[in-house]
Symmetry: C2
Subunit: 125 residues, 2 copies
């Protein structure tokens, strides 16, 4: 019986509004001890994602831009009833480690990460 995203995801998600800075993003990532931060519009729709990796790349290039110029715009997402092997294949295909879970209005209602999927293996035995 393959679990679904809604059984494995984390419902507590931190997001950031697009007008904020890279430093604001870095502070949220540090406080929350996570790595992927969905970016949302004024009306709470998902419009991008910024991660510790993107911030690290800004350091590598010594190029600190606005948040909406640094974030990834084409976000790979998951839905509640998606079987997690489908999710795991998306992560592998794009070499990414987390997907925002969205509803049909592009509201972010959860996050599912390779850490969450890996926990299913942690429980065996």
């Amino acid at each position: 019986e393959t679990p679904l995203v809604k059984d494995v995801m984390s419902r507590k998600v931190t997001t950031i509004k697009k007008g904020k800075s890279i430093e604001d993003a870095a502070k949220l990532i540090m406080k929350g001890q996570f790595t992927h931060l969905p970016v949302i519009s004024e009306d709470d729709r998902l419009i991008g994602i910024i991660t510790a990796w993107d911030i690290s790349k800004a350091v590598a290039q010594a190029k600190y831009d606005k948040l909406d110029r640094t974030m990834t715009r084409r976000v790979i997402t998951a839905t509640l009833d998606e079987p997690i092997d489908v999710t795991a294949r998306k992560l592998e295909k794009y070499n990414i480690s987390a997907l925002p879970v969205i509803d049909k209005n592009r509201k972010v209602i959860g996050m599912i990460t390779s850490d969450d999927i890996s926990k299913l293996i942690a429980k065996r035995r």
Copy 2:
């Protein structure tokens, strides 16, 4: 049959010598498209780990230190013959996403990440 670390890990690993800078680390992370970079001593032993998350934290605190002051010194590691459910439990316990695989001389011979473990779920069906 629980797979072992050696069946699932990546043998191609990038490491960084301790005398390098945070910017050097950020450049390797960007080029390699990974997130965790083991730090090694002059004689190739594992002495720390630096990640995109640590670099992001440096941005959050506007505090750019030497590599060996920013890295995590107490590294959680894996060994070749470790069953991956044990590995997955370590990742969960410490809220980390990757473990350097070391031999008995603390040489880094691989990396195992939650992305690698998640790929086992991707293959089902």
